[in-house]
Assembly symmetry: C2
Homo-oligomer: 629 residues x 2
């Protein structure tokens, strides 16, 4: 006991604790503790971002699961009501129609009242944001609740409305990523960093797809293909990590809720593994791909035309502008009447055109899943037709095997959705959802065939929406002619550049600032030399001008130099084009670095600017050269 006290007293001056001296092998234990400390530090160093991505994945999986759960319960209630309500046709019709109408008009009214930007899928807007455009409030967390509630109502509308949740979930994930990023900035005190923010948004998009389909591979690839034209392997890894966390959590919840016994694919299939298809069937797969490609062109064209019609038609446009819930209710009424099972509903072979009507409703909803299912139906139809035409299977070698229509459904789904969205990863999505990848080659070939047709004739679903909504975008240079490589910046840059020189008199500066509304003004050395020094922000300039006492000493004309001397900040220009930069090179730079705007200098002189406007004009000139007059 005395020893014990002695040790305790000794330990106050020494970091060696009692337990350490008593336990065996103090050195080894200290070593282990050191190792653990080091591991902790190591993990934390690598960690930070990874923890953040994990949080994102887990949160979105929870929301996705909760939403699926609620939607399932509401749909069950609707089914029960419809079955229990008795034989009267009016009552049955009412119970069939009122439910989705109420849900859709609530969804529309609620989400639009909180924020007008919560409608639609959100992917076209995200694409614009990720290319560097700032869309105000689009990633604000206040949209989150509106979109979650609205989307839940839309999905609860069930097979009548028949819309999906991929797009809005991508939007939700990205909102969440932006919010978490802002939280981190606040908690750690780090200054905001644009490239870091972008990394998070890209990972968020991957999480969105992954938590809906529990498909991490295609989640990452689909979001990359849809969102950007370039991406870094670094982003891709982060996307994989976050998407895996999300998908795991999403499936884990299903297990915990006793829906599933273990983590498996969403829609399991069991195709023959030995001989999933006969060799000549490859031809039918490619033909199916081509058919899907043609259908997708027709769909995209009709969809864009109808969307344009709804926006320009005086009746519908007025309805959409003044009372969105009413428009939504009317559209839902039409859809519900048409799908009413004892009515026309039982004769409806396809919902093709109905999807087009549904996409015009201003509610938070995704359009990917219905397209995927329509493609699967087309594929199944062709598969069944083939299996009727060749009941014995196709004779290739000695043994023949019956045709499996399911394989065609898989290929049709992947090809049609791939063609509509201009992506290839839908093939991988089909495999991840079914758990089998034996059809890898035929499905991939169908998707490639469908994409070849769709990409040559129509912009993708998302690009089309960007065009109809008049969002800013930077087109691809589709023309790969060698002559296009000879177009240089000098040919298309904007030469009407407003510069402020150090020796510009103050009254002229005031005139320039009041007569134009640029956000930034280039500052040059002198009116004569025009050597670019940097840029001045309008806000800072206006502030400095207002602070400046306008008393003029006679004989000394006050100029911009005096304002600069008071400490008005000049921002450096970090990247410069020269007039000889080629169009391809400039386009590459804008796309790769998400730029909006660059200065062109020649021998240091500011000679022009290039922005998306100039690039677009130059690209359209290269692709469709103006007719000689």
């Amino acid at each position: 006991m005395e020893e014990l006290v002695g040790l305790r007293e000794g330990s106050s001056g020494d970091p060696v604790t009692l337990q350490e001296l008593w336990g065996p092998c103090p050195r080894i234990r200290r070593g282990i503790r050191g190792g653990l400390e080091w591991l902790k530090k190591k993990l934390f160093r690598v960690g930070e971002d990874w923890y953040f991505l994990m949080t994102l994945g887990v949160l979105m999986a929870l929301i996705s699961y909760a939403m699926s759960f609620t939607v399932g319960r509401v749909a069950q209630a609707h089914k029960w009501l419809y079955q229990e309500i008795g034989e009267g046709h009016l009552l049955r019709y009412l119970s069939w129609a009122v439910y989705p109408i109420a849900l859709v008009s609530f969804s529309s009214g609620f989400s639009q009242s909180i924020t007008p930007s919560s409608g639609g899928s959100g992917i076209p807007e995200l694409k614009t944001i990720l290319s560097g455009v700032v869309l105000e409030d689009y990633l604000d967390i206040k949209n989150f609740g509106a979109k979650v509630v609205g989307l839940t109502c839309t999905l609860a509308g069930g097979s009548t409305i028949f819309l999906g949740k991929v797009g809005p979930f991508v939007h939700l994930s990205v909102m969440m990523a932006a919010y978490l990023g802002r939280l981190r900035v606040v908690t750690t005190g780090e200054p905001e960093n644009k490239s870091k923010q972008n990394e998070m948004l890209v990972a968020g998009a991957a999480v969105g797809v992954a938590t809906v389909f529990a498909a991490p591979f295609s989640g990452v690839l689909f979001s990359i293909e849809v969102m950007s034209s370039h991406f870094s392997v670094w982003d891709y890894w982060r996307g994989f990590f976050a998407a895996t966390c999300g998908a795991f959590m999403f499936r884990l919840l299903a297990v915990f809720n006793s829906e599933q016994e273990t983590i498996t694919s969403l829609f399991k299939t069991s195709f023959r593994v030995d001989i999933p298809f006969d060799l000549p069937e490859i031809f039918f797969f490619v033909a199916l791909g081509a058919i899907c490609g043609v259908l997708s062109c027709a769909y995209l064209f009709c969809q864009r035309t109808f969307l344009g019609f709804v926006k320009t038609n005086p009746v519908t446009s007025k309805l959409l502008a003044t009372s969105k819930p009413l428009y939504s209710a009317l559209a839902a009424l039409i859809l519900a009447s048409l799908t009413y099972p004892p009515g026309v509903g039982r004769f409806m072979a396809s919902r093709f055109w109905m999807l087009i009507l549904a996409t015009t409703i201003p509610i938070p909803a995704g359009y990917f899943m219905p397209i995927f299912i329509f493609g699967a139906a087309t594929g199944r139809l062709i598969g069944e037709a083939l299996s009727l035409a060749f009941p014995e299977g196709i004779v290739a070698g000695g043994v023949t095997n019956p045709i499996v229509p399911g394989g065609y459904a898989l290929a049709g789904a992947a090809a049609f959705s791939g063609a509509v969205t201009h992506t290839i990863s839908t093939a991988l999505l089909a495999f991840e959802m079914t758990g089998q990848i034996v059809h890898a080659l035929p499905v991939l070939m169908a998707v490639l065939a469908a994409n070849a047709i769709a990409q040559s004739f129509q912009p993708s679903f998302y690009d089309g929406t960007i065009i109809v909504k008049k969002l800013p975008y930077l087109p691809w240079i589709r023309c790969r002619k060698i002559s296009s490589h000879r177009v240089v910046v000098e040919h298309f840059m904007n030469r009407g550049i407003t510069t402020l020189a150090k020796d510009t008199p103050l009254e002229e500066v005031v005139k320039v600032v009041t007569s134009t509304d640029l956000a930034e003004y280039p500052l040059v050395e002198s009116t004569e030399s025009q050597v670019l020094l940097g840029t001045m922000r309008r806000a800072a300039l206006v502030q400095a001008l207002q602070a400046e006492p306008l008393s003029w000493a006679p004989g000394h004309q006050r100029c911009l130099q005096d304002v600069l001397a008071t400490g008005c900040p000049v921002e450096p220009v970090t990247l410069l084009l020269s007039p000889e930069t080629s169009l391809h090179q400039a386009h590459n730079l804008f796309e790769l670095l998400n730029l909006q705007f660059l200065f062109v200098t020649s021998r240091g002189r500011a000679v022009g600017t290039v922005s998306w406007v100039e690039l677009k004009k130059a690209i359209s000139n290269v692709t469709n050269p103006p007719a000689p007059k």
Copy 2:
């Protein structure tokens, strides 16, 4: 008959042919013909590149298949010889060992005699080439034959040498792509275009992986992950197209050769679809991933150390320098003796360290497949151990299912090969090779765990080889600290810039050109102003200087201006940095645009240059700040 003649005569002045007027519905037929013409034009317009990619895929598939076929036959012959040779131990040993020794030394001698750069996998060098460095002769078509013959011999060495064909096949495909690209330039007369060339090389790399494993998805993703840090969706599509053509052709050949009844996966599995694994097994999968990560670190460390040892040890380095076939034969002798089945071979649990020896042999060979198989063995071992430890399966809910060790083999293969190469797509490769994707989540989690460990402690197999071989490379900025964003070009640029001014006297120009060996010289307006005008190529400058008569008029000192007046070409500088550009931004630019070198200008004055050397130094300073003195 008269009519006929009359028509014939009429037809000479008119494009309407006889058949057209005779046949029914001439208008419709003409319409159809017009449509076909249009389709042809359309296809041809889009085509060009696609035809080229298809040719590449089909050619490489043919070569891959022919090689596999030959190797199979040779290995069969060896097996037959070994079994038929009788009971004598000496004869058996000789028949076992002489075969691989002869093959390996021939492979080494033949390939090295044609070109010294045909050894190894080729992936590290390709990575360097794709980042913009020109490695002379590396993509020359004359390497092609050497590599094909050498690789066939290596593979025929069979399980003794135990090396794969992925790496060399990637190299072969890229060589073929470069050759086809050059052919196209010659046939179409288009000028060479560097970005177009790069597109082809990237597609070639994807074809290489796809034709070995018949796995288009992972082929594309693996080649992207290994080769580059950034990529464009455009390249990714081209890669998919070429890889699909290649994989399809490769499997088609197997069907035609009656090895397979139809196109299926290479190594089919039939895991349970309903419950492939119990939920708690996820933990074991992640643990397996962590074990594979640690093992991969050990492997990478040993491999690099041993490679360094072989290069520095006086005996081996002399042997490698003077007689490579002898070294190869000795290494093969050691390997063959160790694997001799009646000897030590039957006790060999793992070939781990033997692979390290095999990688030092200077023959064309791939190192991916052995790594993949070693990982599978590790996984299988752990899987079997688990199934022994839990013979009834793991009790999670009510029903228990026995553990399937095959799933662990899959995860082990993907995790170990992923960790060694720092890639994630190996998971997808495992699925594509087996035709099932039910283990998507656990395998992905194992691969992520393994990568997390391997990437924090060791460079990847390919990066390690780049470091050991002293190839140029641009490191990543691993440091994501905010302070690193404050480092700007001004802090690390090379200020010792040699400029030639228009008013530089000719004798000084000659002095500069003879005393330095730059490929390009910056041309500035005047010695005083240093305003950058463009660059002059050394070759053109030397030529112009030689052509200039060196007769000096007294009183007029001849300067560079006079040489320029004779038409010596000045090339424009298309992109400029400013001293305020941040390190991250500059690094991004270099990586994205595959640059080697940029000028830094301030107010038009050339103030410095930034190249890989400066960037590397700056990055290492940011990551490990120099100790204060």
